[in-house]
């Protein structure tokens, strides 16, 4: 039975890799195979959710690789597998983005496998492995149409931003080992000794906020929208960005172990929900609006995690996954049909394509938090958990709920307007539209929308207690009846106001709109504060490396050469000449001696003279002026010296 959890992760990882490798050879079979793998994975996920397998294997000294399906990861595994299946179904036929299908379907499956590893991992190393592979597949999928430089640049920004945040998990792993938490088990992390406990917590929070596009990392999600809509529907709304919230929900005991982490996380979530909600209101592009709302909605999950509302946060996660992936599929269907995602150009799109329009409207109203749809109930659970911890985050969260109603209704307002006369002129801003909805899109779209609408039953008393048991959140705070009423009133009121205001632009100050429209200019800030200084430093260091460090070595070489030349000159002029002159002197002396002495002495002197001459010739010989030969001589001399020392000792 425990093999089931290995099968759960190996199936999409293996199947996906095979599709990536062989997709070029049989492109026709790829979509069907991809969907088949996804369906089987969904079946395995459901079976695993029932059977609750756990497995492990040794990985590093004292750190195992562990996978297990408990209540929380059962929910996540089924959600991931279900959304993957739905999105891949919608990508059958014309739904898939242009380009290599094997790569697209394969990478979507590899992503799903990595995400399943991350949500079922029970130890930190394995979590980190799944976590980073998700980021890499996100890079490849955003840049799927790699001919477009804007897309590949956005892919790079997304990967580097999330990887920078991921350093937190590396830090947490080291700190957990240092703090004697032992096995790097996620369950053992709260037992880390202080001060390492704080490092572990901070690292986990940073990684989670980065992945979940919370403030201040939100900007990467904006660029990620340049990827295909199917990718946005799976990775950048339902699953990958929610992984950060999932991690915080799972590690709530760790947050609770330090005094500061819970409030920090709760406030970050609440503020992100509010501010990114405002950003969503200011967007003029449907996918950008949905992306900002993703950050904002995940803010509610993060708020729940910081407040200890695991059941509430998980309910929000699942309801949001169904809602948002449905909305992205609808946006993608329009993008394919009409060639645009501009809100102004999408006027009346819901009337042109009523089925997609109806699904989109229901999804958007769910997103608005209108009763009795699912996110209304889930959000109230989150707010109740937040109120138990403090009034501040609760109030901010309530305001964020109002903003959520505003941006959702804004989108609905645009697409349900009567079709303008010159609608055609606004189309085809991104690509040439097909003017029809691909047959594969509606079934998964409707299924997701249905789930989005009815998942609110989880808030009913009976299912709620089952859900709390499932997610291991016994004793969760349930909202009071007046809270349901208050949030419903806020949502309906804000929605009405937004409907009224949508046809009257220019109410808000222009600077604020520009600021919100540009995602708070966070990307520009990151560019100015981090990227440019680092690139500048890199260039300066490269210059220094060339001129100073390598230059010093070259100068030393030149110095050696000069010294050897000098030595040669000295040698030529001094030693050599001395030798020569000695020889000459000896010759002269010999001549003199011959004159003076008799023949017997003469021959001996001649021999000495020729010997001296030979010595001079020998002494001249190594002075070639070639540096490397001098060097080799030095080396030989050194070795001889050493041998002498050795033998003499």
């Amino acid at each position: 039975m425990n093999g089931l959890v290995w099968l759960l992760v190996a199936l999409p990882l293996g199947g996906g890799s095979v599709l990536v490798l062989t997709g070029r050879r049989c492109p026709r079979a790829v979509p069907a195979l991809g969907v088949a793998v996804a369906v089987v994975t969904l079946g395995v996920a459901v079976a695993a959710a029932v059977a609750r397998p756990a497995a492990g294997a040794p990985l590093f000294t004292g750190a195992r690789a562990g996978l297990a399906v408990d209540g929380l990861s059962a929910v996540m595994a089924v959600t991931v597998a279900a959304v993957t299946t739905a999105v891949l179904l919608s990508a059958l036929g014309e739904g898939a983005p242009a380009g290599n299908r094997g790569r697209f379907f394969g990478l979507m499956l590899v992503f799903a496998g990595a995400m399943l590893v991350a949500v079922t991992a029970t130890t930190l190393p394995l979590l980190l492995m799944g976590w980073e592979v998700m980021g890499a597949t996100s890079w490849a999928l955003i840049g799927h149409q790699w001919q477009d430089p804007a897309r590949t640049r956005a892919a790079g920004v997304a990967f580097l931003t999330t990887r920078t945040a991921d350093l937190g998990l590396y830090l947490a792993a080291g700190a957990a080992l240092a703090g004697q938490a032992g096995s790097l088990d996620l369950a053992a992390l709260p037992l880390t000794g202080s001060p390492w406990l704080h490092a572990v917590t901070a690292g986990v929070i940073a990684a989670a906020l980065g992945k979940s596009a919370q403030l201040p990392f939100s900007f990467w999600l904006s660029g990620a929208m340049r990827g295909p809509s199917a990718v946005s529907a799976l990775l950048h709304s339902a699953t990958m960005v929610a992984a950060g919230a999932y991690l915080l929900l799972r590690l709530h005991p760790l947050l609770a172990a330090t005094g500061w982490a819970g409030p920090l996380v709760a406030w970050t979530g609440a503020v992100t929900a509010l501010v990114l909600g405002v950003v969503a209101v200011a967007q003029t592009d449907l996918k950008q609006l949905l992306a900002a709302s993703t950050s904002a909605q995940i803010g509610f999950m993060v708020l729940a995690a910081g407040s200890g509302g695991t059941a509430a946060g998980t309910a929000q996660l699942v309801a949001h996954a169904a809602t948002k992936s449905g909305l992205f599929l609808a946006a993608g269907a329009w993008l394919t049909a009409l060639g645009t995602k501009r809100l102004s150009a999408l006027r009346g799109a819901a009337r042109s394509y009523p089925l997609v329009g109806a699904a989109f409207t229901v999804g958007a109203l769910t997103l608005a938090g209108l009763p009795p749809l699912s996110l209304w109930a889930a959000k109230d659970e989150v707010l109740a958990a937040a109120r138990a911890e403090g009034t501040g985050p609760y109030a901010v969260g309530l305001a964020a709920a109002a903003v959520a109603a505003a941006y959702s209704v804004k989108a609905v307002h645009y697409v349900t307007r009567p079709l303008p006369e010159e609608a055609e002129s606004g189309y085809d801003t991104e690509r040439r539209g097909t003017r029809r909805i691909c047959a594969a899109t509606p079934p998964p779209l409707l299924a997701l929308t249905l789930a989005a609408a009815v998942l609110g039953v989880l808030a009913l008393p009976g299912p709620a207690s089952w859900w709390e048991r499932l997610t291991g959140d016994q004793g969760a705070v349930s909202p009071q009846p007046w809270e349901y009423g208050l949030s419903a009133g806020v949502a309906v009121g804000a929605a009405a106001l937004a409907w009224w205001g949508a046809s009257r632009p220019g109410l808000a100050p222009r600077a604020a709109v520009g600021w919100a429209h540009g995602w708070l200019h966070l990307e520009r800030a990151a560019h100015f504060l981090v990227v440019r200084p680092v690139l500048g430093l890199a260039r300066a260091l490269a210059h220094i490396d060339d001129r100073v460090v390598a230059g010093a070595v070259r100068a030393a070489g030149r110095g050696g050469l000069t010294a050897s030349r000098f030595a040669r000159r000295l040698d030529d002029r001094g030693a050599d000449r001395a030798v020569r002159q000695t020889a000459r002197g000896t010759t002269a002396a010999a001549r003199l001696a011959r004159r003076v002495e008799d023949d017997g002495v003469d021959s001996a002197v001649r021999a000495i003279a020729s010997g001296a001459r030979n010595l001079g010739r020998w002494a001249r010989r190594p002075q070639t002026g070639l540096l490397h030969q001098y060097y080799a001589q030095a080396a030989v001399g050194f070795v001889v010296l050493v041998l002498i020392i050795l033998l003499v000792r």
Partner: protein
């Protein structure tokens, strides 16, 4: 057995040199490939007979220069066996890659066979002088490879610089070895005896000077900042096969020297100067990564990432010498990570350098600006390079992650600040690899101006086979690392104990 492994390539080299002139180039290449394959098979046999918990194995001793305490002593343990296996694999990969070499093939093959003997010999040597001889001969062999088969006139200058610089390093190393020899009673160069005796325990500044000499010698070869400047020109101007061996094997000789000689033979001074070593490691990591980020030349960029990756090794071995605030588990994790990183870097950087050779073969330049959208012309080449780049940036699922994760988690406890700074290296490395991929392979297709508009050929079989095989092994280690870690871990733990004594 081990001696056969070491000297078989040299024998074949000698036989090749003696064979009649009429022998064709293809025949030479195939002789090389068969020899390298036989070597790999031998290593597999060695590995299968290796008992991970059994310490030094397959030992062989012979008298060599007994009067000077020099002996022929070889053996393998968990630190050296993975590197010996890497050597045999990488040489086979290079042999296959060089199948289409056409310039003076016989001397080329002889030189690489000679280099294989030297490299394997170094990793199994258990005598300091034997180690030194192989260390020096590797410099000589690589000098001829760069000077003879590199890119033109500049290659000769780069080769000379490489030779002189690393030769100075080897002289420093010899000085340190003699210092060790003189301190041991009775005098000996035998590594096992020296490790047992720990001759310089408590001898203060003298031991420090010996460590300095050995450290500088090994640091030049590794290389670490600031002794790294010979590396970029040597790589840029070397032929692809030479670069792969230089980065994959020769750099490991320096790093291996630290774990085989400096740490077990000088444990006291190693602990004393651990901070210096850690700082050198961290500076190498961050400095190397930043300078690599600013490069415009693909091969030069990869050369600088080698400085970064070797910096991780130095950081880990430095942290393993720090006892405060840490336990044996963390320190052996760091050492295991360091050895894993050597293997991983050999596989991945070896593949990257072979791929850069393909790039040069097609476009006759390494300048990244000259290319754009190569994926349109050469999808397989782009895909393999992308995989290699992600492996290089330490993506989980590849061996680099297994190594770096162990290094970081093992070093953080004792060297918190340094390790935290070194962590930024993995983001900078990611940035530079992604930028390189985007500039050269993605975007609108554009080729260097000098090329005919006919386009360029994709990866050929003899180029694809070695690179894919190396990356596949990196993937296997990344997913199922136990078979490798089972061999390294006992030796890593033993070394961590030796340093702590």
């Amino acid at each position: 057995m081990l001696s056969v492994l070491v000297f078989l390539p040299l024998l074949v080299c000698a036989a090749l040199a003696l064979l009649p002139r009429g022998l064709g180039d293809r025949a030479c290449a195939w002789i090389w490939i068969s020899t390298a394959a036989l070597e790999l098979a031998l290593v597999v046999v060695l590995w299968s007979g290796f008992d991970a918990g059994g310490g030094m194995q397959y030992e062989q001793r012979a008298r060599w220069i007994p009067s000077a305490g020099v002996g022929y002593h070889v053996g393998v343990d968990g630190l050296s066996l993975p590197l010996v296996a890497l050597t045999c694999l990488l040489f086979l990969a290079v042999a296959v890659y060089s199948l289409r070499e056409y310039r003076r093939v016989r001397s080329y093959v002889c030189l690489f066979l000679f280099l294989q003997t030297v490299s394997t010999g170094l990793f199994v040597a258990l005598d300091l002088i034997l180690f030194f001889v192989f260390f020096d001969l590797s410099i000589v062999g690589m000098f001829f490879v760069i000077a003879g088969w590199g890119h033109g006139e500049r290659a000769r200058a780069a080769a000379l610089q490489f030779f002189l610089y690393t030769f100075v390093g080897s002289l420093a190393l010899l000085l340190g070895f003699i210092g060790l020899y003189l301190a041991a009673e009775p005098h000996t160069f035998d590594i096992a005896d020296l490790a047992r005796a720990d001759p310089l325990a408590g001898s203060g500044p003298y031991a420090g000077l010996v460590l300095l000499a050995i450290g500088v010698g090994l640091a030049i070869k590794t290389p670490t900042v600031p002794f790294h400047t010979w590396l970029p020109p040597a790589h840029t101007d070397a032929p692809a096969a030479g670069s792969a061996i230089l980065a994959g094997i020769l750099l490991k000789m320096g790093a291996y020297g630290f774990v085989r000689i400096a740490m077990p033979l000088l444990p006291g001074s190693w602990r004393e100067y651990a901070l210096v070593i850690v700082v050198v490691g961290v500076v190498s990591v961050v400095y190397g990564a930043l300078v690599a980020l600013a490069q415009t030349d693909f091969k030069r960029m990869i050369a600088y990432t080698s400085v970064t990756h070797m910096g991780y090794v130095i950081l880990a071995v430095g942290a393993a010498g720090t006892l405060a605030g840490t336990d044996l588990q963390a320190r052996s994790l760091a050492v295991t990570g360091a050895v894993t990183q050597m293997v991983s870097h050999g596989l991945i950087t070896g593949a990257l350098f072979l791929l850069s050779g393909v790039l040069y073969d097609r476009g006759h330049t390494y300048a990244m600006d000259a290319y754009s959208g190569l994926a349109a012309h050469t999808p397989r080449f782009a895909a393999v390079t992308a995989v290699a780049a992600f492996a290089g940036l330490g993506l989980p699922g590849f061996s680099g992650f297994i190594a770096e994760f162990q290094i970081f988690t093992g070093s953080l406890a004792s060297r918190t600040t340094a390790t935290a700074i070194a962590l930024t290296g993995i983001v900078i490395t990611a940035a530079l690899f992604l930028t390189a991929l985007r500039r050269m392979f993605l975007g609108a297709p554009r080729l260097p101006g000098a090329l005919a508009s006919g386009g360029v050929a994709d990866l050929r079989r003899h180029e694809a086979l070695p690179t894919v095989a190396l990356l596949a092994l990196a993937l296997v280690i990344g997913v199922l690392p136990r078979w490798l870690l089972d061999v390294i871990e006992p030796a890593g733990r033993a070394l961590a104990r030796l340093v702590a004594r």
